[in-house]
Symmetry: C3
C-alpha cells in the first residue's frame, strides 16, 4: 500500500475566484486528496427543497481538474436552521432534560426518525449527482459521530426507540425484569411502556438498565450511519468512510465500522494531551508541544482494527488548535512526525485539517496549512515533507504485530456506569497496558473482543474486559497465544450481573476473585520484588500458580501455560515486570526504547519516532528531537 | 440488657429452596434477628391491588421455625413503577425543578398525600396480616429517611403543604412578614398563596424563609413516619423502629424518634470516612480500612439519645461496600470491633447488612456475610465472634456518662443556610468537640437541645447551638452542670434574626459577641499559652472573666462558675486545653488514650477499642491492633 | 472640589421614634449625605396602586431638618411579590432555562417591557413627589445593575427584543449571516425569527452570535436605566447617579454612565479580595484584613472615567461583610484608609453602607457604623476621621495623570466568549497592567476605547483591546502619546472575525501576529535579560524594531516612536521592565513604592497609602501601617 497526503477544504468559505489557485498550491505541496462538503448543507439547500449545487459541481471540477481526488462528505452533522422548524423534536436532550439547541453543530438526536429521513433524502440526492463524477473518489458519512457528547440523548424519540429496542432484545418484560435483577429495589416493570431512560433517578439507576441504554444508543449510531451507507452503496463502489473522533467511547466504533470500507480518525495530538488524557502534570509539561507519545499510535492501531486493515487519518493537526483548554503550537518537526507515524501504523491517507485558517466562526484560532491571509503557515512545508517521504514507501497492510491488545467499547460503558473506585477508567487501564508494551519496544495490534483468529499473536492482553466471549478464549487456545487477563476481566455477564460461576468468568482458569478493593489516589500495595498495585486490588483464591505476590503474601498474578490473571491495576514498574515476564514466557525479546521514543515495525520497515525535544540513540541509530528515522532491513532510508 | 446479633435478608432475591439452609447457617453463626421485606413491594403487589404474600408467609415461617426473630420492614421506600402511573406527581422535585425519576429508590415526595394513603394501605395490610405472627418480633418503617438527599422536595405538593404549614405557624401573613424581616428587600407577601419554595432565587433567599422550609420539610418526614407508626400501634406491641442513615442531617431525628420505640442506624465506617467526613487526607489514609475512630461512637451515642435509651445498629458494614468514591476492605478484626463497640455504647442488636452478596442490581460490589456463590465471606466469622462475646455481657442501659454534648438538627440547618464562612459546618464543629472529649478518655452522652434534666452531668458542651432553650440553661443550673457554650451559640432567634438582647442569647452570662470573622483555611489566631482559633473568631465584650486570651490580648474563652463561652473554633490543641480546663473545673480526671484507641465506660464495664493497625497500651492493658479489650471491674473478661 | 461623607439608611427597618436620634448621631459624626429608599417598594406600594408614602415624607423631613442631604433611590431593584402575579413572565431566565424566582432581589428581566412600564410609573410618581423637596439633593437609579449575574437573561422577552435589536443592527438576515460567518457550520438563518439566544447549544455557539447577544444585553441595561433618567430629568436638576458594583463586567458601564451626572460604585475591599480577584493565596493572606492595594484605586479611576470626572463611593465597607466566602474584619485604620484613598482619586462623596447593622434578612452579618443594638461599631470613629480630614481638602477634579489605561467592556465579553486559553481574562490582564504602573509609582487615568483626546498623556496602555477604534490611534498621534498595545490588541473586528489586514488591526504599525499559543499555568517563556511571558504568547512578524526578545530569539516587544506592540502576557518582572522602558522612552521617572504602599498625585496633593500592617518609608515620609499620609507641596498636612 502506497500512502498519500490529503487536506480538508471548504470552497463555500472562500470566493470562487481563488479556488483554482488553492488547488494548484495543494498539488504543488504533494497533496492528492481533498475532503469537501461535510458542513455545507445550508449552502446546498438554503430553503427546504430548493437545491443549489452548481457551486459544488464547479468546486469538484476545479479540484479534480487540478489533479486532486475528492472525498465527498455528507452534510448531516449540520442540518440547517429551517430543519428545526420542520422537526422541532429532532434536537437531542441532555441528561438534565434540556433540549440541546441549534447554533453550533451535531444538533440532532440519532433516534429521530424524521431526521433520518431527511438525511436519506440528502444522501440520495448527493449520491445520484456525484457518484458518477470521476473526481469523486471516496465518501465520508456525517462528521465525528459522538463528538460533544452527542451519542446519548434523553429525548422522547430516544425513549420510544429504546422501548422498541428492549422489546426486541428481551421479548417480554418479565424476561427483562429477571435479566436486570429488577427485584432488587422493586424496580420491576409491568410493560415496556413503563421503562424510562436512566437519567435523573434519585440515586444510581440499575447498572443493567444503564448498560442496556448504552448498547441501544450505540446501536442507534450504527443504524443512523447505515441509512447513509446503504444508499451510497447503491450508487458507488468508491470507499465509504467515517471520520471518528479520538478518545471517543460513546458508541461501538467496530459496529459502525462494519458498514464502512475504510475507518478514519481525526488526530489532534496536542489538543488531546491537554484535555482528554489522564496524563500527569509532568507528562503534560514534557510533551506540551508534541502530544503524548502513545496516544496517536494507540488510535492508529485501534482504527486499523475498526477498518479491518484499511484506515486513514482524515484530519491531522497542522498547528495550534482552538478547542482545548490550552492550545500551544507544535514544535518544528512535529507536524511531519505525526504524519509519518500514521503511515508507520498503516494509514493509507494522512489528510490535514484544514487548508486555510478560517477568519470567522468557532475555529478562528485553529491553524490551517495556510494562514487566513493566504501566506504559507508552518505546517505546509511539513505536510509536503510527509508527501515526499511517503512516495518512497510501500506498507504491508496485512502484517501482524506479535502482540494483540483487546479493546472493547461495552467494557468502557460498564465500568463508567459502575466504576466502584472513582478513578477506575477503562480507557486509562487499556492505554496504560499499551504504553507498557511500547516502552518494551513492541509493535501492537488492537483487536475487538469479537476476535476469533489470533493466529500469529504470541501474546494477547485483555485488561478490564467486562465479559469475555468464549470464542476469544478458544481463539487464543487454537493459536497457542498466552492470554493475560485482568484486572476486572470477565467480571460481569452481558446483563450486568455477577457471573454464576464467579469472576473471572473463564472456563478452565482456576482462579476466583473473591472480593475487590478500590483504593484512593496515593494508596498502593507493594509487590514483592518491585512495583505496586494502585486504584484497584482483587483478593484472589483458587489453585492457579502464583506468579507474583504482594508483600503481604497475597497472590496478585496467577496463571498456567495458557492464561494468566492479574488481580490489580499495576503501576508503571509493575506493568514493566508483567510485560517482561509474559514476553519471556512466549519467547519475545524486550527491546526498551528511550523516554519519548517509540518503535513501529511493519514488514521489513522499522520506524523510530522521537517525541522528545532532543535527539536520542536507539540501538545505534540517532533520531533527532521531534524526528523520525525510517529503516528498511536495518538501513536508514529516510529521516526528518 | 443482653445484646444480640442480627442480619438483613432478602428472601425475594433467592430461590425458595435455599431459605432453610440460609436460616440454619444464620442460627449456627449465633444470629438471632433477621430483617426482611423493606424493598419488596413489587413482589407483594406486582399489579395494583393484587396482593401476593404467600411467599412472605413462607419466608417468615422458615426463618421463625429455625429460631430467628423477624423484623418486618414496611416497603414504602420503593414504591413499584405502577405507582408512578397512578400518581404521576408523587415524585420529589430537585432544587433545579427536575422531577427525580423512578429507577432506583426513595422516589417519592414526603408531602404527596396520595402516596401517604398508599403507604397507609400497605402498612395496614401488613400490620393486619403479620402483627399476630409469633415470629415477627419488631417492625421497621420505610428505610433510611433522607438518604440520597430526599428530605427536601421542590414539588407542587410540597409547596401546597408548606403554605398550609406556614398558615398554621404564623396565623397571618403579616405576622410572617414581621417574623422573617421581609421588609429587608421588599420581600413581603400579601397572602400565603404567594409564598414559594426557596429555590432558584436570584441570590440567596431570606434565611428565615429557608429555615422555615427546613423545619417544614423535617416535620413532613415525621408526619410521614407517624402515618405508619399509628397504624402499626393499633396492631402490635412489638418495637417500632426506623433505621436512620448516619451523617444525615436533613430532618430532625429526635422528632421522628419520638414516635418510635427503638432508634437504629446504618453503620458503614469505611464508606463514611471516604465520603462523608471532613477528615484530613492523613486521617483518611491512617484509617483507610478501619473508619474514623469516633464516627461510629458519635452516632451510637446520638441514636441512644434519639431512642431515649433504646437503640440498635440495623445495618453493620460486613466488608467492602459499593457506594463510596473508594471502597477498601476492612482490616481483619474490624468487623468484630465495630460490632462490639456498638454494644459498648448500648446497642441491643447489631445487625449485619447483608446475609449474602447480591449478584444483580446496584449493590453487586457490596459485601455480605456470604459471597454471592454461597461461600463464607470473611465477615461471617467476625459476626459470630461478636455473638459469642455478646452472650457474656449485660449492659446497663440507664447509666449516664459524666459529660453531655448537645446535638441539634435546626442548628445544622441554620448554619448550612448562612455559614458566613464557607467551611463553617455544624456537624464538623460538634464532632470535633466529641473527638476532643474522647481523646481525653471520657464517655459522652449526646442530648437534644430540648433536654431539661441534666442531673448527673458535671459538664455539658453546646457548641454552635443556634438558639438555646431557656429550659436547657435552667436544667444545667438545677443540676450544677457547667455549660460550655460557643462558638456561635445562642446566635439567632427561632425566626433567624439577631437576638434582641445580643449574642449569646443567654440570660445572666455577661458576655456579648460584638462581631464575627470567618477565616479562610490556613488563617489562624494564636491563643496565649498554646493552641489557636481557626475558621471562626468572635469579638467578645462584657464583664465575664477572661479564661483564655488570644496573643493579641482579646478574650476568647470567658465565663463564671456556671457557664463558659468560647468565642472561636478551636484547633485540636486548643480543644484539648479547653476540655482539660473544664474537666479540672468540675473535678473530672482526664485520662488520655493513645492515638487511634478509645475508651467507653458503662456501669462496671470498660471497653477499650483500638482503631489503629498495631497494638497499644492503655493504663497497663494491651489492646491488639483492630482489637477490643473488655474489662469488668478492671479485669479483662474478653478480647479480640 | 470639597469631598464629604455619607451613609446608607433604611428608615423602613426601624421604629420611627429612633429616626431623630439616628439623624442627630449621623450629623455628629460629620456625615452630610444619606441615601434612602432603594429597597422600599413594598413599603411604598404594598398592594398594586395603593401608595403609602407618608412615612417616607416624614423620614426625609427628619433627616433633612437634622442637616442631611438625601439621596433618593428608586426602588426598582426589588419589585414586590404582587408584581410577579401581574407579570409572571418578568422574571429573568438563567442559562439552563430556569426562571430566577422571587425571594431575594434583582428578580427582573431587563427586556420585559411590562416591567419597564411599572418602573416608569414608580419613578414618575417619586419624581413628582420628591423632586421639589429641598432635602432631596440627588437621585440613585435602581441598585447595582448586573449584580448576581443579572445582566444576561434567556427569557422569551429577551429573545423577542434581541431579534428586534438584530433587525435594527443588520437590516437583513443575509447581512447578519455574512457578518457572523454563519456559513461556517451551516448556521445561517432565513429570517430574524429563527435566531435564538446562544444558550444550551451542543458545543460552543458562534462567537459573533454571543458577542451580539452581549452587546444587546448591555444596551438593554442602558435602555432600562434611561427610562428612569429621562423621567427624572423632567423633574429635577439634582445629580442622577447609579451605584455600580465593582468587578462587574456584564454591561458597558460607560454607556449607562452617559445618561448619568455622577458615577458611583460600591467598594468592599475585603469581600472583593476573597471572592472576585485572581489573587494568589499569598496575596490573599497578606491583605486578608485590608483588601488588595490596587483594586479600590482601579475602580476609583474607572468610575472617574465613567462619570466623566464626577464620581462617588456610594457604599463603603465599614467592617466585616456577609457575602464573600470568608469575611474577616478590617484591621484598625482600614475603614479610614479606604475613605481617604477614594478622596485621593477624586470621590466627591464617600458613603458608608450601612448606618446600623440589620438584625434580619440576608445581611445580618454585614457590619454597619452602629451595631444592631445601637452601640457605636468600630467603623463609626473611622468614618468620622475621614469627614474631619476631608474638610481640609480641596481636590482638583480636572487634573490629568501622566498615563492613560484603556478599559473596554466589549473586550471583556469577547475574550470571555472565546478565551482560547482557559485562564485568559481581560480584567486580570488590564488589572495587572495597572498594578505594574502603580508599583512604578505612577498615577493613572482610565479611559474608554472611545477616547479621542489624549492630550496630556505621555503614555497610553491598551492591553487586550479586542478592536481598536481608529480615532483612538489618531488621538494618540495628535497628542504625541506613546501607545503600548498588546497582547491580543486589535485582534478581531467588531463582528468577531479576524481583521482582513491581519492582527493587530492598526494602520502603520509594521507587525503581524501570525499565530498564538495559550500556555497552561506554570509554562513560561523566558525573555532575554529577565522576566517571562506566561498564559499567552504570540508569534510576531513584520518590520517593526524588536525591543525585547525571548531567549529563543523571537521578538516579544516591537515598535517605533509612536506605538509599541507586546506579544504576550508578561509576568510581574516583565511588566516592570516594559513599564520602565516605556516611561524612559517618554521621559517619565519611575518612583517605585514599597510593597503594599501606593502613591496618588492630584494637583499639588500627594496621598501615600499603606495597605501593609506595618509602617513603611516612602521618599523620607513614614506612613503608618494601615495609614495614609497626605502631602501638599511636599509637606505633610494630615496623616492617619
Amino acid at each position: 500500500m502506497k500512502p498519500t497526503v490529503g487536506v480538508c477544504y471548504y470552497p463555500e468559505h472562500w470566493p470562487e475566484d481563488i479556488w483554482h489557485e488553492d488547488a494548484r498550491r495543494m498539488v504543488e505541496a504533494g497533496i492528492e486528496w481533498v475532503r469537501i462538503g461535510e458542513f455545507a448543507w445550508s449552502r446546498m439547500e438554503a430553503t427546504p427543497g430548493v437545491w443549489t449545487l452548481d457551486w459544488l459541481d464547479r468546486a469538484i471540477d476545479v479540484l479534480g481538474r487540478a489533479g486532486l481526488k475528492v472525498i465527498m462528505g455528507t452534510p448531516t452533522a449540520t442540518p440547517p436552521r429551517w430543519m428545526i422548524d420542520k422537526h422541532p423534536d429532532m434536537l437531542a436532550v441532555d441528561a438534565n432534560g434540556n433540549a440541546r439547541k441549534f447554533g453550533s453543530r451535531r444538533h440532532y438526536c440519532f433516534s429521530h426518525m424524521g431526521y433520518r429521513e431527511e438525511c436519506a433524502r440528502v444522501v440520495e440526492l448527493l449520491g445520484v449527482r456525484y457518484s458518477k463524477n470521476p473526481f469523486v473518489a471516496a465518501w465520508q458519512t456525517d462528521n465525528e459521530y459522538g463528538c460533544h457528547d452527542t451519542t446519548l440523548s434523553y429525548s422522547d424519540a430516544a425513549q420510544t426507540r429504546f422501548r422498541e429496542w428492549l422489546a426486541v432484545r428481551y421479548g417480554s418484560v418479565d424476561v427483562l425484569n429477571d435479566a436486570w435483577g429488577n427485584i432488587f429495589w422493586s424496580m420491576g416493570y409491568n410493560s415496556f411502556d413503563q421503562i424510562e431512560l436512566p437519567n435523573l433517578t434519585v440515586t444510581e439507576p440499575n447498572p443493567a438498565h444503564v448498560l442496556a441504554f448504552r448498547r441501544f444508543a450505540s446501536d442507534e449510531v450504527a443504524a443512523f450511519n447505515r441509512v447513509q451507507t446503504e444508499i451510497l452503496r447503491k450508487h458507488t463502489d468508491t470507499p465509504l468512510i467515517h471520520n471518528y473522533m479520538g478518545r471517543e467511547l460513546g458508541f461501538d466504533h467496530f459496529d459502525v465500522g462494519a458498514d464502512l470500507d475504510v475507518a478514519s480518525w481525526d488526530s489532534y495530538p496536542i489538543g488531546f494531551l491537554s484535555d482528554r488524557l489522564d496524563a500527569s502534570e509532568a507528562q503534560k509539561s514534557a510533551y506540551l508541544r508534541q502530544g503524548d507519545p502513545d496516544n496517536q499510535a494507540f488510535h492508529h492501531d485501534l482504527y486499523r482494527a475498526v477498518g479491518r486493515g484499511r484506515w486513514w487519518v482524515m484530519e491531522q493537526q497542522p498547528g495550534p488548535v482552538n478547542w482545548a483548554p490550552y492550545n500551544p503550537a507544535p514544535l518544528p518537526g512535529m507536524v511531519a512526525l505525526w504524519g509519518l507515524e500514521a503511515i508507520a501504523h498503516g494509514a493509507e491517507v494522512v489528510s490535514y485539517f484544514r487548508w486555510r485558517q478560517a477568519p470567522f466562526g468557532q475555529e478562528q484560532y485553529h491553524a490551517g496549512l495556510l494562514y487566513a491571509d493566504d501566506r504559507d503557515a508552518p505546517g505546509l512545508a511539513e505536510a509536503q515533507k510527509v508527501a515526499e517521504i511517503a512516495r518512497g514507501l510501500d506498507i504491508d497492510a496485512d502484517a501482524r504485530a506479535p502482540i494483540a491488545l483487546v479493546f472493547d467499547y461495552p467494557s468502557a460503558w460498564a465500568w463508567h456506569t459502575q466504576p466502584q473506585g472513582a478513578d477506575f477508567d477503562y480507557f486509562h487501564l487499556t492505554f496504560a497496558t499499551y504504553k507498557a508494551l511500547r516502552r518494551a519496544g513492541f509493535s501492537v495490534d488492537i483487536v475487538p473482543a469479537s476476535a476469533q483468529d489470533l493466529s500469529g499473536y504470541k501474546l494477547a492482553m485483555a485488561p478490564g474486559l467486562a465479559t469475555i466471549p468464549e470464542a476469544l478464549i478458544q481463539g487464543a487456545k487454537d493459536a497457542g497465544t498466552l492470554m493475560v487477563l485482568g484486572p476486572r476481566t470477565g467480571a460481569i455477564t452481558e446483563e450486568y450481573s455477577l457471573p454464576p460461576r464467579g469472576r473471572p468468568d473463564v472456563e478452565g482458569l482456576d482462579v476466583y476473585v473473591d472480593r475487590v478493593e478500590s483504593l484512593p489516589p496515593g494508596q498502593t500495595e507493594a509487590v514483592a520484588g518491585g512495583g505496586a498495585v494502585c486504584h484497584w486490588l482483587e483478593e484472589l483464591s483458587g489453585g492457579a500458580d502464583a506468579l507474583l505476590k504482594l508483600e503481604t503474601g497475597a497472590s496478585v498474578l496467577v496463571g498456567d501455560q495458557q492464561a494468566w490473571y492479574l488481580g490489580g491495576v499495576p503501576d508503571e514498574n509493575l506493568w514493566d515486570r508483567v510485560i517482561g515476564m509474559a514476553a519471556g514466557h512466549v519467547g519475545l525479546t524486550v527491546r526498551p526504547v528511550p523516554v519519548g521514543a517509540r518503535r513501529r515495525e511493519v514488514g521489513d520497515l522499522e520506524f523510530l519516532v522521537n517525541y522528545s525535544d532532543h535527539s536520542v540513540e536507539i540501538e545505534g541509530e540517532t533520531v533527532a528531537g521531534c524526528g523520525v528515522t525510517i529503516l528498511r532491513g536495518g538501513v536508514c532510508i529516510a529521516r526528518t
